[in-house]
């Protein structure tokens, strides 16, 4: 998604403001819009592209809202986003790993 150029180890500690979508010169409203687009695309990739399902009690609206909250907070880390994603989606064969 052209958001990261770092390896797996380094990526977790990157802040949202280190990702390509996060323009800190824009207004908060415009950043919220960009975060919505990214969250929608992450949901697309997880569910349509990678065969993930929602965890029990989670739906698309809840997953999107949780992701957008992290994506709009410049101090949140990629690993915080990963934690949210992990709680919202069950990836294909996840339980076997």
């Amino acid at each position: 998604m052209n958001q990261l150029v770092t390896n797996f180890e380094e990526s977790g500690d990157l802040r949202m403001s280190d990702l390509t979508f996060f323009n800190n010169l824009s207004s908060a409203d415009l950043r919220q819009q960009e975060a919505s687009v990214i969250a929608d695309q992450l949901d697309n990739i997880f569910r349509l592209g990678r065969g993930a399902k929602f965890e029990e009690g989670v739906d698309r609206a809840g997953a999107m809202d949780s992701m957008i909250q992290v994506l709009t907070d410049e101090d949140k880390l990629v690993k915080d986003l990963a934690e949210i994603v992990d709680g919202a989606y069950r990836f294909f064969r996840e339980t076997e790993n």
Partner: protein, 394 residues
């Protein structure tokens, strides 16, 4: 306001006192106070001073609040679920013109009800309420006496983004490729590039489009609501992302051409590759502005009457290069404001139309070079990055 605060604390203390406040910071605090006093002779004034020092410490109330939340979620998670969306932080307040400090708190509450439907587009409807502000127990000590409570409704349409996979063998293959990529140190190595290419062949990204309409209605006030104003408006947003770098949409991102060239020259990309994922985001807004505190405007038109205003904003950010462990980005933002049916006196003072452009080179470790030109309207100046000129912050 005092009654509300006292009521909240009564509820918290009552809740904590139901035999559940065990081994926490509060009891520790009381014990250490008792131990400190025990066996020593203190005058009434000294004890009063010690107690005052404790009860004016914001951390005491932050501990109370944290304990209350912990117990509330354990005791009855459903009943107190709304508290998960409420952030309260107790802190000291000090007015600008005095050295006296007082206690207060800031709050931030967000509640959203979202509905999602899917047909040709993915449609999100989001009805929400947000509230935030600063409340000082002694109002005159509040340097930022401002509360905002906002209702909003956002209708968003998303389309495209990825081609659906239905073959479980592809899911397994993508998982394996991801595991291999995660073990690599250099994401620009030939091995990593080959794995990413194969990943991209099986997870096919497409163009993604977005548009939204968001009416909003806010109530702004001071903490005792003796001054208040309503600020309605509507925001219309547009976005497009060419996630596949070979798509026509990506090639249309001419703003990224100079940076695609830089990425090629610095070896970040092997080919000249404009990123469609960095197409500018666009918003239009119609606001009903209430010019509170705008002394210049008040002087010109002799009143603080509200006025309608159109706003256009476009934001652009792209990746330039990775030098050692430093990622370099280019950011830009352009805003245009136009007061509708502005009076001549406002036009003559050059306040009817305002533009603001700012761009910056930024790195992940803090290097920052920016340039800004133009001016933001009075009510939007909190977003001003720098005034006209070049700025270097190393």
């Amino acid at each position: 306001m005092k009654k509300i605060i006292v009521f909240i604390f009564a509820c918290i203390i009552n809740f904590c006192a139901q035999g559940q406040l065990k081994n926490n910071d509060m009891t520790g605090l009381v014990k250490s106070l008792a131990n400190g006093i025990h066996g020593k002779k203190f005058s009434g004034e000294e004890i009063k001073k010690i107690v005052n020092g404790i009860i004016t410490d914001p951390e005491l109330y932050n501990d109370f609040w944290k304990n209350f939340l912990d117990l509330a979620f354990v005791k009855d998670s459903k009943k107190f679920n709304f508290l998960r969306d409420l952030n309260i932080k107790f802190k000291p307040f000090q007015a600008e013109d005095t050295s006296v400090t007082g206690l207060g708190f800031s709050y931030d509450f967000k509640f959203d009800f979202a509905k999602y439907t899917e047909n040709k587009s993915r449609i999100s409807q989001d009805l929400g309420f947000t509230a935030n502000g600063n409340v000082a127990f002694k109002k005159k000590l509040n340097p930022n006496d401002f509360l905002e409570s906002k209702f909003h409704y956002t209708l968003s349409f998303f389309k495209g983004g990825v081609i659906e996979n239905t073959d479980t063998a592809v899911f397994i293959l993508l998982n394996d490729l991801e595991d291999k990529l995660a073990s690599l140190k250099d994401m620009q190595s030939p091995e990593a590039m080959a794995l990413r290419e194969e990943f991209g062949r099986h997870l096919v990204l497409t163009d993604q489009y977005y548009y939204s309409v968001a009416p909003k209605f806010a109530l702004e006030s001071n903490q005792d609501f003796t001054k208040k104003q309503f600020t309605p408006g509507v925001i219309i947003g547009f976005g497009a992302k060419g996630w596949n770098t070979k798509s026509t949409l990506s090639k249309l991102n001419v703003l990224d051409y100079p940076f695609a060239l830089l990425r090629l020259l610095t070896g970040t990309d092997r080919k000249f590759t404009p990123y469609g994922s960095t197409l500018p985001a666009i918003q239009l807004a119609f606001d009903y502005v209430i010019p509170t505190g705008d002394a210049v405007r008040k002087q010109l038109v002799n009143n603080s009457d509200p006025f309608p205003r159109f706003k256009f904003e476009a934001g652009f950010r792209t990746f330039i290069s990775r030098i050692r462990k430093e990622n370099i980005f280019f950011n830009a933002d352009f805003r245009y404001y136009n007061e509708l049916n502005a009076k001549d006196v406002i036009k003559n003072a050059d306040l009817a139309t305002q533009t603001y452009f700012v761009m910056a080179l930024q790195s992940t470790t803090g290097m920052y070079v920016s340039y800004a030109n133009g001016k933001l309207p009075f009510d939007a100046r909190k977003d001003e990055v720098y005034s006209i000129g070049f700025n270097y912050k190393f």
